[in-house]
């Protein structure tokens, strides 16, 4: 599956980082870096990250 983050919306709250630190990280300068291709068995995690994002910036795609 693919994980999209709309960087116009993301405000570096790091909630996704707390849910899945192996997929999402805050880089220097506070910007989010993340892994776009995620194995399907992480779907529940990714859904949790999307629900946790206060900016509703995370979108999942099959």
């Amino acid at each position: 599956m693919k994980v999209h983050v709309d960087m116009n919306l993301c405000q570096s709250h790091g909630e996704c980082v707390a849910v899945a630190p192996d997929i999402f990280q805050l880089g220097d300068d506070d910007l989010l870096v993340w892994q776009e291709d995620v194995p399907d068995d992480r779907r529940a995690d990714m859904q949790e990250a999307a629900n946790a994002c206060p900016m509703m910036a995370i979108r999942l795609e099959d």
């Binding site: 405000q11 790091g14 909630e15 990280q25 805050l26 300068d29 506070d30 629900n51 206060p54």
Partner: protein
């Protein structure tokens, strides 16, 4: 369990319904909400929506294909635990097997002279934000009463829109929950952006012309001319409908760590209305009015409601809060409001990014940071229980990614 009823159709309630479905609940879910809208997110109401950088549609929370029966625009008026029913304002009853309470808060009303004049606003719901946005577009002078988070955020938004803003608070500092030590920083930030900040004074009366507010009289005898007034005096709980239910309602709907009410294992609570034991508060039932806590509570309550009480899991994530004012992204973890003192931990040489510890005794209960988002994950790991401050300082000294050596940072 056949029928799950959720009262309060906002963030906490929505996340509860979603997680109950994800966890496999195939019985009925009824969502009762006082507002006639589908769930939306509130933080933009004092920021992007007011400034016009986001529209009303952008604040909708994604509901998707969620299979629930919506009862919107009808508040719950009473809870009958014996007969397991929620009474609604339209005279109907909704029976439940398990119930989740997520009715949140509303703006604290002010009842002084002139409170009902046109042009006097409070801010909690979408309608409030739309009305305030209209007022900001047609006014030149805004008076904000209350320099808490909502008051300060609206002050920043209104300054960015070019209004003259007066911000008054009876307290000696803005953002008091973050402690007096940081108060000077917040005060300077607002003054530097042109806000007329008046501290240590309250409002005595609002005075109108033709039914519309035109000025305020303050407790120190001064008068402020204003075309619009925002009363941002904090919040009160939406628990009136639970009076007489036998649930414990002080300091909120009192729950154990699994969000189960102490009085009734079939009733759970989530979000702003729930008082849940917090490790950082020595286990005291604590209300947390933060977006992410409401989302986490909802998520957990939806899952726990399906289980027997013995199988339910506890909420352990430390509170997280943010506030955007001008170019400052303020973030907090833990329980700053319980701190006895504040100590600066790291700061860039320019002073534009920093993190301060909120300390009680020798332990850190939380942090407050400005423009330091990348440092948050590190502190989040420290704050599952209150760590000794000395240990935090030691580890920080060894962390090459800190914003500035602790020696360079002074409060």
């Amino acid at each position: 369990m056949r029928r799950l009823v959720i009262v309060g159709a906002s963030l906490g309630g929505l996340r509860a319904a979603q997680s109950a479905r994800t966890a496999g609940h195939d019985g009925g879910i009824v969502m009762v909400g006082r507002e006639s809208h589908l769930p939306y997110t509130r933080p933009p109401l004092s920021k992007e929506l007011l400034k016009g950088t986001q529209e009303i549609e952008d604040s909708a929370l994604a509901v998707g294909e969620l299979d629930v029966e919506w009862r919107l625009g009808v508040p719950a008026t009473a809870l009958d635990r014996e007969r397991r029913r929620v009474h609604l304002a339209d005279g109907t009853d909704v029976p439940y097997d398990r119930l989740i309470i997520a009715t949140g808060c509303r703006a604290r009303p002010w009842t002084g002279p002139g409170a009902t004049l046109a042009g006097v606003h409070t801010l909690r719901d979408l309608e409030d934000a739309v009305a305030l946005r209209e007022a900001l577009r047609s006014s030149g002078r805004l008076l904000i009463v209350g320099a808490g988070f909502i008051g300060c955020e609206v002050a920043a938004s209104a300054r960015e829109l070019g209004l003259d803003v007066t911000l008054v608070d009876i307290a000696a500092h803005p953002l008091l929950p973050f402690g007096p030590e940081l108060g000077e920083r917040w005060a300077a930030m607002h003054r530097d952006h042109g806000v007329d900040l008046r501290l240590g004074v309250g409002i005595a009366a609002l005075v109108g012309r033709d039914g519309r507010v035109s000025r305020a009289e303050l407790t120190d005898g001064t008068t402020i001319e204003a075309d619009a007034v925002l009363l941002a005096l904090g919040s009160v709980l939406n628990t009136d409908w639970l009076a007489g239910s036998g649930l414990e309602l002080n300091p909120g709907v009192v729950c154990d760590a699994t969000l189960t009410t102490v009085a009734d294992p079939d009733i759970l609570a989530a979000g702003d209305v729930a008082a849940v034991p917090l490790a950082l508060a020595a286990g005291a039932p604590t209300r947390v009015e933060h977006w992410t806590t409401a989302a986490e509570h909802g998520q957990l309550a939806g899952r726990n409601a399906l289980l027997d009480p013995a199988d339910r899991s506890a909420h352990t994530t430390p509170p997280y809060f943010w506030s955007d004012q001008y170019d400052a992204k303020i973030q907090a973890l833990g329980c700053p409001a319980l701190a006895e003192r504040i100590e600066l931990l790291e700061q860039t040489p320019e002073g534009d990014r920093w993190v301060a510890a909120c300390v009680a005794g020798e332990r850190m209960l939380g942090i407050v940071g400005v423009n330091a988002a990348r440092r948050l994950p590190w502190y989040r790991r420290q704050l599952t229980s209150p760590p000794p401050l000395a240990q935090v300082r030691d580890e920080l000294a060894a962390d090459p990614k800190r914003l500035g050596a602790p020696a360079e940072a002074s409060a």
